[in-house]
Amino acid sequence: MRIRCPYCGERDNGEFSYLGDAAPVRPDGMEASAEAMHDYVYLRDNRAGEIRELWYHGAGCRAWLVVTRDTRTHAIGEVAPARDIAKARAVTPAGSASHA
């Protein structure tokens, strides 16, 4: 399998390590519930089809990436730096905070 690292270009999947589905979001903060944390840590959709997943380019630039990949065919769509996506995600609550 070849993964197009947005920084390093296309590399063999052996250069990366895999974490899993990028959909679950960690329930941050002291208010988070144990139930929400359980779901985040343990439950997965495990879809047959296109999913967004976290890969770490450990043998390359050490970037965490969000890879859109079809689990039936391994076909890869978009590959984006996880940090950029995470920042965009963080902006949403921050945006509402800007009213404060």
Binding site: M1, R2, L19, G29, A32, H38, P81, R83, A86, K87
Partner: protein, 1008 residues
Amino acid sequence: MLDRTPDFPSPVREVGPSQKFRTATGGLIDRRRARDFTFDGRTLTGYHGDTLASALLVNGVRLVGRSFKYHRPRGILSAGSEEPNALVELRSGSRREPNTRATMAELYEGLEATSQNRWPSLSMDALSVNALLSPIFAAGFYYKTFMWPASLWEKLYEPMIRRAAGLGRAADAPDPDTYEHAHAHCDVLVIGGGPAGLSAALTAGRSGARVILVDEDFCLGGRLLAERREIDGVSGPEWVEQAVAELKNLPEVRLLSRTTLFGVYDHGAYGAVERVSDHVAVPAPHAPRQRLWRIVAKRAVLAAGAIERPHVFGGNDRPGVMLAGAVRTYLNRYGVLPGEAPAVFTSSDDGWRTVADIAAAGGRVAAVVDSRLDVPVPLRRMAEAAGAQVVAGGQVIGTRGHLALSGIDVRDSYGSTLRIACDTLAMANGWNPVVHLDSHLSRRPVWDEAIHGFVPGQLPTGMVAAGAASGRLTLSDALESGARLGAEAAESCDFRATATATPRTDPESTAHTPLWRVAKPKGKAFVDFQNDVAASDVELAHREGFRAVELLKRYTTLGMATDQGKTSNLAGLSIMAELTGQKIPAVGTTVFRPPFTPVAIGAFAGHHRGKEFRATRHVPSHAWCLENNAQFLETGLWLRPAYFPRAGETDWLQTVVREVETVRGKVGLCDVSTFGKIDIQGRDALAFIERVCANPFGTLKVGRSRYALLLREDGFVLDDGTVSRLADSHFVMTASTANAARVMQHLEFCRQWLWPALDVQMVSVSEQWAQYAVAGPRARDVLRRIVDPGFDLSNEAFPFLGAAEITVGGGIPARLFRISFSGELAYEIAVPAGYGDAAWRAILQAGLPYGICPYGAEALSVMRIEKGHAAGAEINGQTTARDLALGGMLAKKKDYVGRLMKERPALTDPDRPILVGFRPVDPSQRLRAGAHFLAVGAEPSLAADEGTMTSVAYSPSLKHWIGLGLIRRGHERHGERVRAYDPVRGGDVEVEIGAAAFVDPAGERMHG
């Protein structure tokens, strides 16, 4: 056309003996270079350019091996990698290669081949008695028997079956040759060097695209080398020579012959193996035996050709029965005549080419049996001119002879049986495109009614099929489709390519009416030769319900031999289709798995064997350790000094005791560079550390270090280490040797994904710093002689858990931490790794007056056990902070990784085992890690299991063995006695529970 790579030096000898069946002229062998070889100890001669198979045939050797199950005599069926029968042991001793296809083995001087799966000899094989028992040994026979009594399976039946099974014998010693890997990238990968592949490579290559052409043969040209064909007025081999010459002149074209493209993987990745040295007796100096290529290609043109189908009739496995295309290959390419009285059994026009070629070589043909009633008149005339008896609408139903073919029984169109004497039978029953590679990515081939065979269906992205591999079986189609698809492939990589006009070829016919099996055969009609699967076995599978193609395959073993059913799968399907009244494609197709042909395991491993299996990491003091007889141990990839024996010390324990006593009494030096070191900077560095560590850091001042406990999000302990604050927003975190990489990945995950808004810059500095523990009551005295003047080492100025950036050796930057794993007054000093060797020697020299000694990982471990510190055996991924008696340090007022999940009921159950210390009640007894705890007097059982001993050591301080372990409610049970039960080592020791810290529990020494 012969390979022009330098042949391994061997004498040029004009003529060998015998070679009885060699044509007078012609062929692509080099008649000036004779090659002696042995088969079953008998010396024979062939020529350079022969394969082992052609050299055997030319010497009249028909019987080459014995079949897998019935030990039937077998000869040579094909002239290529599809060969199911002619498997031999090639070479001997540590280089012995079992199951080597004689059809693919290039002849070299001194080649040694031995037949296999026979005893005592090939012609007198005792187990050929199995053939007589074949009525019993039908498919699936094993599942119905050998059950009475059950105990005899392992003792009698199975060893018997195993001895009889298998084919060749593996080498009897480690492989002495080497293998290597190489990577290649290209725009267009062309798989197969026949007419289609060469045409594709030419058009793509001329465009300037980067092209790689791979072919499993040692000569490029494919069937052009095997047939008498003309292209634009020149012979096939001449056309190939011109094409190859042009390709060699194109700078971006790489030709890899002797290279099998064995696997297609995701996203344009391909695996290929190049047999660099298999055509010589021993690899040349510095040359690998084989090279495994990992090829990445934007586009691929699959031009792997087609494989001819055998007929299914009685005794079709008799040595002398061959594929017609193979007969022509041996004749035209190798100059080998097909015996003295060849016959042809065909269901297609191209089978008649065999007759024409034999006639052209001056040979006589005994008979032509065509299963079709309507035979074109010119073909019939041509055959009759060659002396052949022609039987149209006939079928070969059986064969005669024992170890080799002596005649055939033919049923003619009137139902009468004719006996025809012949010593070779060439079978032509149409061709199957090589669809193996395109099915590696789970694509299924589709049925093509025109060729009565499977052709590629939806191909993997970027791949197209050309020529025979696509079902276009004529030469002109191969040339046309190859050139066109090569050009298209280059175009799609942004090169300008043009397909040149298709060359003219002589006319050919692909007319073919497949004969799936002969009705009422005489004797066993084999479908899968190598696995001895006959048509009757397919019938039995049908009868017993094994009708789905995968069930058929698994029940009968059809297609599971070393040839992976290249000549048999379709025949099996066609019989099942007939039995179930379905069309062939409705029965299904088997999924071809990689590799295309078997690949040496050594080639996959390449460089990574023996000591090079994995990299070895050396500590900065490694050179000194080598000079001073250090003994090493493995921790992950690291080779760490374990202990440093001195003259007169006779066992490791004696050495370790001396090292510990020296540290506890004087001072010692230990290389702890293997710990991970992570530099963390940024405005939010502290906030980041708070979130990844479970204990609080808010009060950590600049110039101080603190123990750091990291949890996984599921609440179990991930690792522990220290965090030191070097400046307001500059920290360095350590991680354990074993977990360093995992911790770094985890921290990057937290930084990039969980909390991307934090201003944190992080980089590993593990390799920059050599870090040494200087421990013992005299540690400060030693360091005073190392640290540059001006730094105050006094307890007041630099107390326990101090951290400082200092200089040593007159201005070399260094770091000093007052942390202690041993429980003694101790420092860890870090110097740039290049100075690591110097610092090690300098510290030892500075410590001489104080009696310093180096100590290794073993002594370090003893001292940490004496101090009750948890390490890898306790932090094993199954323990919580509370289990390790570290619950008290968990922060309560911050969120951190693992905070919530560690509170799950089972993880806070007070009955969980907790870390405590153990000492033997009888101090002379030895403890062992891995023992389980039982109440005194309890019967061993899972229910009675109270926990396990995790680490043990002989304590030089206490003069007896001590242990750390986790036992239920251990912290409440100090003073209680339990058994440490270790049945796998015969141990059963009564131990007393106590505090985990055995030495200086108050920690006065390290604070001093």
